[in-house]
């Protein structure tokens, strides 16, 4: 809280200006102020010079790249056939844009889901829901089924990935739902059926 009250005299203030100049964020006024100080302060002048030299050294790194070990990328390319392109929900979730803004995207998604569920419960559209996740031998399986009182179902898959598997899981759910509804004592507007499908992510050998 005292940061903004720092005196403008004193080298720490001007050293901050040196970093601002290096960051490319110095204002013209600050630039002038720094130049005036540098003319009178050999210590800060030397500091700036050493950073300028360091920048030159860093540029050397870029101009002298390290060689890629022979066959490195070829070995990776040889395993590409084992990698299936991502589709469906996992394709969206793992998209670089989503990953870069993951926290915001997750918050927005949660908000939308909670709003939809709250609306569904409030209006009586959603009558029952259940979720389950389990881990078996390193393979993750997860799903959540929401039954809607007209007999339709909505599946929320935590780690769903392959659209074909997803579609298959929904078919299984519907079939199981019909079977359950036909059983004695079964109520087509009551109960839930749970199924799982395998997450391809945990299964993809990449080494």
């Amino acid at each position: 809280m005292f940061k903004n009250k720092k005196k403008k005299s004193g080298c720490s203030y001007h050293q901050n200006l040196i970093h601002k100049r290096l960051d490319g964020e110095i204002t013209p006024e600050e630039n002038l102020e720094l130049d005036e100080h540098l003319a009178d302060c050999p210590q800060c002048f030397e500091e700036l010079n050493s950073y300028a030299l360091m920048k030159d050294l860093i540029n050397d790194i870029k101009e002298n790249p390290v060689e890629v070990p022979a066959g490195f990328f070829e070995r990776l390319a040889g395993k590409l056939e084992e990698v299936a392109p991502a589709r469906g929900l996992s394709g969206i979730l793992a998209h670089p844009f989503f990953q870069a803004h993951r926290n915001w995207a997750l918050a927005a998604t949660s908000f939308v889901l909670v709003s939809v569920l709250a609306f569904g419960v409030g209006t009586g559209i959603v009558t029952r829901m259940d979720g389950q996740a389990d881990q078996t031998m390193g393979q993750s399986n997860s799903s959540a089924l929401i039954l809607i009182n007209n007999g339709d179902s909505m599946v929320l898959g935590g780690s769903d990935s392959n659209p074909d598997q997803h579609a298959k899981a929904i078919d299984e759910l519907e079939m199981a739902y019909r079977e359950a509804a036909g059983q004695p004592g079964g109520d087509e507007n009551d109960g839930y059926i749970h199924t799982t499908w395998q997450d391809e992510e945990s299964d993809t050998p990449i080494r």
Binding site: S50, L57, I61, A77, K79, A94, P96, R102
Partner: protein, 212 residues
Amino acid sequence: MIPEPHPPPGVSEGQKMLDRAATFEGDKSLDQAKVRQELFTDLVNSIRTELYNFALRLTGNRPEAEDLLQESYFKAYKYFHQLRDRGKFKEWIFQITANQFKNFLRKKKKENTFYHDDSEQVFVEKEKPSRNPDELFMQSDRSSVVQKAFGYISPKMRSVLVLFEIEGYSIEEVSETLGISRGTVKSRLHYARRKLKEILVSGPMEGKVHFG
């Protein structure tokens, strides 16, 4: 289509590759999975040295750089079909590599001891080389000295320095890429510069380069 004997002036090799790929991608008689795979490997090969060095600078040593590259390479291929502008392949795969590096830092965080540095107002890892920096780079010029010096800076600080000073990202771009605030970027950048200078002037790499 009759191939042109000489490409029009100003058309880069990369653009020619993309144009050629576009014709193959439209050809239904070809195995499109194979076409996609070949285009991906061609694009990676066109930036292989830059990509390898980017990972090496982020991690500070070859074994971790190669692990990081392996993860980002397969991840990139998995989502390659979603990349609309193939001309931005380099930026795209660098972004994926930087994202994977964030995960790498999270894993590493669990292994490291942390302390609070009041002067920086950030949590920084205890300074120690990721591996033995002398074994990391086999170059003999002064750039190898700086490369080794980078190895003594913690990965969090180093990643900011690499993106800003070497890759030429803006403060804003570093902030977006690493998912940290602009203030944290600047704070880490200032700390990393001071640390690098200290390592070169009075630290483990003292006297290895003429300084000041």
